[in-house]
């Protein structure tokens, strides 16, 4: 049992960003549920529900994407084969971890969904059960699919149908087949199929002799020609300018241009599908704007998450002539700003249809401010918070990140509330103040980060390498 519990713990509490997201997400979910249960509405109820859903998403997103990859890495070592029932314990741990996630989603989403008037306790429990079973089925499908495809370089494309699923799911659930699925018999069948899938997966895992683990640690994009085929890349000695060489060594990406194009194309595809799904769901103008705002926030936050990797890899350039700590700081800063702006502008352009759809409801100036200025300001502040994390204690760093994260969530909350209410209420008035403070904070944070970089300690802030030969 101890082994199984350890696997569950490892998959749900993987460390670093995952734990941070889980804590924030958990707090948001519990806070929203608590406020809803106590009928305490400091912001409109819709926003509280939205906040709750965001919390659930933040809690689940990291295990959702990382569990299958981590699980394959754990199964890989040959020593696991030698442990009595080692693989069986691993499979049981993975099953329990996904079940716990499904229970969390079921309970939280079931409680957040607006219950019909005079709904009984049994009806609420039925709603929770429906969500739980469907969530478990989805998690199972995702885990097993991703476990198999993450070995392959193009396996990342498995995410593309998700956008399509988002588009088709509402229509499917309204169809007779969808209605059948959420009936008691249908739910039983779905649950049985999920458990059966785990049993089959477990049997396969226990009996297979050797599990191959992907050996790459760098991003998959930008490496197709050499790596996908395993072919030898013979030929003339390539020539790089100093700038190119620094960019490649800093990012760890062999072909940054191709990587940018592929990332942009993949992001465009995914964003377009998500927005198509939102628009096909015929949202009200105000919720369209809210979704546009959230998309833009993520468009600037995701690139900022790469700052940490860049600052760790900066150690590879330290011994190269001509680069002192201040110049390395500026190099990483420039690279991060470039990513932030590209990410934000891309998200803004992609959110265009939602923004145009929403202009009937809000003043265009307010929309531009909230959708363009707010995410950039938040992204810039967070960028320098990341750059600050090069020294200091674990607790200090964690506290800074949690504070920054909470402020950011507050901004998303007020931004969303401003769009939902559409009136000059507290949320609309507070948003400019929040953005203004972030803009004022940026030079201060930059100064502090620059000073910290003068004493950066790469013994502590060392690059993470997962698989060394």
């Amino acid at each position: 049992m101890k082994g199984i519990a350890r696997v569950v713990w490892l998959l749900l509490w993987g460390g670093g960003l995952q734990n941070w997201l889980m804590v924030i997400g958990g707090c948001m979910t519990l806070g929203s549920l608590g406020a809803l249960a106590a009928h305490w509405h400091p912001v409109p109820q819709t926003v509280l529900v939205f906040l709750g859903f965001m919390g659930v998403m933040l809690t689940v997103i990291s295990p959702f994407f990382a569990d299958a990859i981590n699980f394959r890495s754990i199964c890989g070592p040959r020593s696991i084969w030698l442990i009595p029932h080692g693989r069986l314990k691993l499979a049981a741990g993975a099953f329990l971890a996904q079940l716990l996630l499904a229970v969390f989603i079921g309970v939280a989403v079931g409680a957040l969904l607006p219950a019909p008037a005079h709904a009984t306790g049994a009806a609420v429990i039925h709603a929770m059960t429906q969500v739980l079973v469907m969530a478990f089925a989805c998690l199972t499908l995702h885990f097993l699919c991703f476990y198999w495809v993450n070995q392959y370089r193009l396996g990342i494309l498995v995410f593309l149908p998700y956008g399509l699923l988002l588009v088709l799911l509402p229509g499917f659930m309204r169809s007779p087949l969808g209605a059948l699925l959420v009936s008691p018999n249908g739910l039983g069948a779905v649950a049985t199929a999920s458990v059966l899938a785990w049993v089959l997966f477990g049997v396969r895992l226990v009996t297979v002799r050797h599990i191959r683990v992907a050996e790459r640690t760098d991003p998959v994009v930008g490496t197709f020609s050499a790596a996908a085929t395993g072919a030898e890349v013979a030929g003339a000695i390539p020539r790089y300018s100093t700038q190119q060489a620094m960019t490649i060594l800093l990012s760890g990406i062999a072909n940054p241009r191709r990587a940018s194009i592929l990332t942009a194309l993949a992001s465009c595809g995914l964003f377009a599908l998500i927005m198509l799904g939102i628009l096909l769901g015929k949202p009200a103008a105000k919720s369209a704007l809210m979704w546009g705002f959230v998309l833009c926030c993520f468009g600037s936050l995701i690139p900022v998450a790469m700052v940490d990797a860049l600052s760790r890899r900066a150690s590879f350039l330290w011994l190269k002539p001509g680069l002192d700590r201040a110049e390395l700081f500026r190099l990483v800063e420039r690279g991060s700003w470039r990513r932030l702006l590209v990410g934000n502008i891309t998200a803004f352009l992609l959110a265009g249809p939602l923004v145009i759809y929403g202009t009937r409801f809000q003043h265009p100036g307010m929309i531009l401010f909230a959708i363009l200025a707010a995410p950039v300001a938040a992204g810039a502040a967070l960028l320098y918070v990341w750059l600050l994390q090069v020294r200091g204690t674990v607790w200090g760093g964690t506290l800074t990140m949690i504070t920054a994260g909470l402020l950011l969530l507050l901004q998303i909350l007020f931004g969303s509330a401003a769009f939902v209410s559409g009136q000059a209420d507290a949320s609309q008035l507070l948003l400019p103040w929040l953005v203004g403070s972030e803009i004022l904070l940026v030079p201060v944070l930059r100064h502090l980060a620059g000073r910290r970089w003068q004493r950066i300690d790469w013994l502590i802030h060392k690059p993470v390498r997962l698989n060394q030969p």
Partner: protein, 292 residues
Amino acid sequence: MTEALVSTRTLSKAIGSKSILRDITVDVSPGSVVGIIGKNGAGKTTLMDILLGFSPATAGTAQLFGHDSFTLPAAIKDRIGFVPQRDELVNNLTGRQHLALTAALQKRWNHALIERLQAAWEVPLDRVVFKLSGGERQKLSILLALGHEPALLLLDEPVASLDPISRREFLREMIAIAGDQSRTVLFSTHIISDLERVADVIWILRNGTIVWAGPLDTLKENVVRLSIHSRQPLPRILPLPTALTQQVTAERASAVVTQWNEPEAQRLRLELNADIEVEPLSLEDIFVEFHS
């Protein structure tokens, strides 16, 4: 007097409450080949990280070419080559691309030397790095460190992943480098026979402190095993202030001492009324005795 290329004064490093290095004071003169040995976790890699400016010292100073190592200027970095314990290669690049990248960042690059070494060590340059074996990656890292012909070469366990033939070739290359009196090499290893072959100065690290820093020959002359045969019962603790270990059984004893010389031998013979046989130790034995 020749200026020391590497110099530390009461250098200490702690991370949180954990002390990693304590009061390290050493000098390296030009043309030396310094071998650093110590158990895992003794602080070898941390010492190199501080010397190269990757990490600040908690107390004391570390200097390379007379400059504070934490703020090395470009002109000094140009004269340093480094092979880390864990290579810093980009998995998706080929060996040839790595060489081109590093050459692009250095002011000068000896293509002929690299081609010769690449051919001798059979480093596959046209394969992406994640398809290379551990030894091949290590060889490539060494090539990257040698290309700009550094005056000071720091190698953190450079031969750990190499096969015996490549190791021998690498050591031969190191001897050639060391033969050129303008070059200085500092390297850590667990393969002590290699140290005996190439190093002229040895640093022994134990729990973050240097317990020996000096020429290899002096180390071997000074650290010896004594077999003592007395004509009277020996005291339970022998009067050997520099003893690392000692075992006494009635009229016989054996001990390993660190500061052995003829006056000390005379003193001990008279004091114990004993015959003393001196047995020289191999470097490996000395290392073990220092850690016993």
